[in-house]
Symmetry: C2
Subunit: 403 residues, 2 copies
């Protein structure tokens, strides 16, 4: 086992805040495995590298010898938001929640070590919580304290309604920490308030409080907006290896170290060296990015899959003589009523054809390729998924990379 | 049965607000017995005429043919205030609550018609309320709405803590209305917010909302401060007839009509006449007050007891030649370590003796009377209760009325 200080160095890698760091060190010094908590909402089951950031950090804890308690917030999700005001918390049926939870857990175990993970469903204690006990819990919080939460504060001062039951969420999340006796709770930076509520409640209920560890949001492949399915800039945990590899290769260079720290399995001391090497211009960014893409694919598939993905990537981008400086075209991939994109017109917009008519003739003649594959004759309308970040080739020399 | 309009006239007598009056009339027009709700806290079991004001109004409803649901808030009381911040809601044991509730109910039935009263304990639904149901209820209220409550608003703007569980009280009280399907809820003017919360919740849960009927606070015998045990200006429902009679006789004349409306069983049309008669100087205030005192004693005891009380009152104040203009003395009745008041000294303070020594001699000689009864020799220390509003007589001609 590593020394507490060495462990702390690894744990801090990529973390936004540790509140308080001194207590984490103190807990690590005890030498016993710590109980690391992560609470997840089983509302959006498909997870991407952004969602996996805390899972990666949990895995680091596990590799250091600690235990993880993954709390599926089925109690909270089941209740949903009956007012319908908060669209991020749709009311789900028990069946749908169970199904989502299973999908989520299956994906989470691509990252976590099942041997060191305890899975708990908070419906176990939340739904059976009696009014008497609940009121004792509530008595530990003041209205002013809960109103401090950023989103509540904004809504209250902006005269936007806050439903009274919404006040229960941070409290119930805090109660989860009490129930599992968490040593550390992980969450995004936007979760700090809720994590601190857990810390406070534990303290008020006479327990050693948890440490709150927040992790930054991971930007998507565009390197600008946070990774999100709705922004189309995400790398899904179930993406095919080749797709995953290609998507990682498409991130801006300035995102590489952050991806290493938050989304890879690369040891922290190696990341430290990579960061230093890049800063000193001693490492070639392309090589570093390739290694990152390989690492991430290998983490979710295997070394062999990673190698195959790299080869397939090279096949499209190198062997098919795609020049290094392919012009980029920010394509509008909004599908039409049939869910397709009209390729013949897209060729015109991307400067690869003079007219949609020419576009259709080029397609019919087998002269249009998407990522190296010829588009079949008469297939003028294409699935937008095929076009995402695709390289379109017309004839031998005309290229456009959709971005 | 009286017409809806006639009923409304009676119901409005003494009421502070009826929200909305139009709905009450509408409900009365249906012709079916209405369900009138009163929620009570079993924290202070001994009740006085001030507490009985809503009970009197309930009894009026009963006499008009309506049904009453008396809710004992044992669910809320049991939980109490775990934070200890709100001294008005001490945490009570189940046994103490049951005991208080019994004492309360025994007294309440001195006013209410048991045949038309349903007794409910809200622990029945509150303690068994599941989290899922609770959150659905809470979703009907906004934080801003609950913060509008006067005391919450004052504390929030004054940066004084409001415990989160305190937010549950108005909600649970509102839920009581839903559970019993109240048509009308009664409360003091200070309860309007809670009554309106019940109205809102019923409406949001798709029910016909209740009408809120508030009653003013009844001033105590001093006619200034609200009737309260701690101000010593109360008339208890279990006070002896003579004491009750005497206390009513001690209220200021300008309070008579209010007492008639809120504390007597006198029919409303007669009260209307009395009010008009007093205003036109056609009625003698003393006679009106005597009738009031007789009415109140008869309501809690019997006509005979009322008559006996009046006679005893006359015996002290008239037959024993107590002059009409007995000087009043604002006595300090703070008891000493033995729980007594040193009468010998009180005689001096009231101007009835020159010294405590003379006071003791007067007592020993049988020359000192309290309310017409001679104080036994050597009884220099007297129970303060005996001295409240008492007429002290020394010899034949010296009097003082303690106020």
């Amino acid at each position: 086992m590593l020394s507490p200080e060495e462990q702390l160095h690894i744990i801090k890698s990529g973390a936004a805040q540790i509140v308080p760091e001194s207590l984490l060190l103190e807990k690590l010094k005890k030498g016993a495995p710590l109980n690391i908590k992560l609470g997840v909402d089983p509302t959006a089951p498909d997870i991407h590298l952004g969602h996996a950031v805390p899972l990666r950090k949990l895995r680091q804890f596990q590799d250091l010898g600690h235990q993880v308690t993954l709390i599926i917030g089925d109690g909270t999700a089941l209740i949903g938001d009956p007012s319908g005001r908060n669209s991020t918390r749709p009311q789900l049926s028990r069946e749908k929640i169970a199904e989502n939870a299973k999908t989520y857990v299956d994906q989470a175990f691509k990252v976590l070590d099942p041997e060191k993970t305890t899975l708990r469903y908070n419906s176990e204690w939340i739904l059976s919580l009696g009014m008497e006990e609940l009121l004792k819990i509530l008595a530990n919080f003041t209205v002013a304290r809960i109103l401090e939460r950023d989103d509540f504060q904004k809504r209250y001062t902006g005269n936007l309604p806050i439903s009274l039951h919404e006040f229960m969420y941070p409290v119930m999340q805090a109660y989860d920490s009490v129930m599992i006796k968490a040593d550390v709770e992980l969450g995004g930076t936007d979760q700090l308030f809720n994590l601190l509520a857990g810390r406070e409640l534990m303290e008020k209920m006479g327990m050693e409080p948890q440490v709150c560890l927040t992790l930054p949001l991971l930007e998507g492949t565009d390197g600008v907006a946070k990774m999100s399915k709705s922004y189309g800039n995400y790398i899904g945990l179930t993406d095919e290896p080749a797709d995953m590899f290609g998507k990682v290769m498409s991130i801006p260079d300035n995102m590489m170290v952050k991806y290493y720290r938050l989304a890879s399995t690369c040891p922290v001391d190696q990341i430290d060296q990579i960061e230093a090497g890049l800063a000193a211009d001693e490492l070639h960014p392309n090589k570093v990015k390739r290694a990152l893409a390989r690492n991430i694919v290998a983490a979710y598939y295997s070394e062999e899959d990673a190698q195959a993905a790299e080869e397939s990537f090279d096949q499209v981008f190198k062997n098919h003589e795609v020049p290094d400086d392919v012009p980029e075209y920010a394509a509008d991939l909004t599908p039409n009523d049939q869910g397709k994109v009209y390729l013949a017109k897209l060729l015109v917009d991307a400067g690869l054809a003079q007219s949609a008519g020419e576009g259709r003739r080029l397609i019919d003649g087998g002269g249009v390729k998407i990522n190296g594959e010829a588009v079949p004759a008469k297939e003028y309308n294409v699935d937008p998924v095929k076009l995402e970040r695709a390289v379109i080739q017309v004839g031998k020399r005309k290229f456009a990379k959709l971005v």
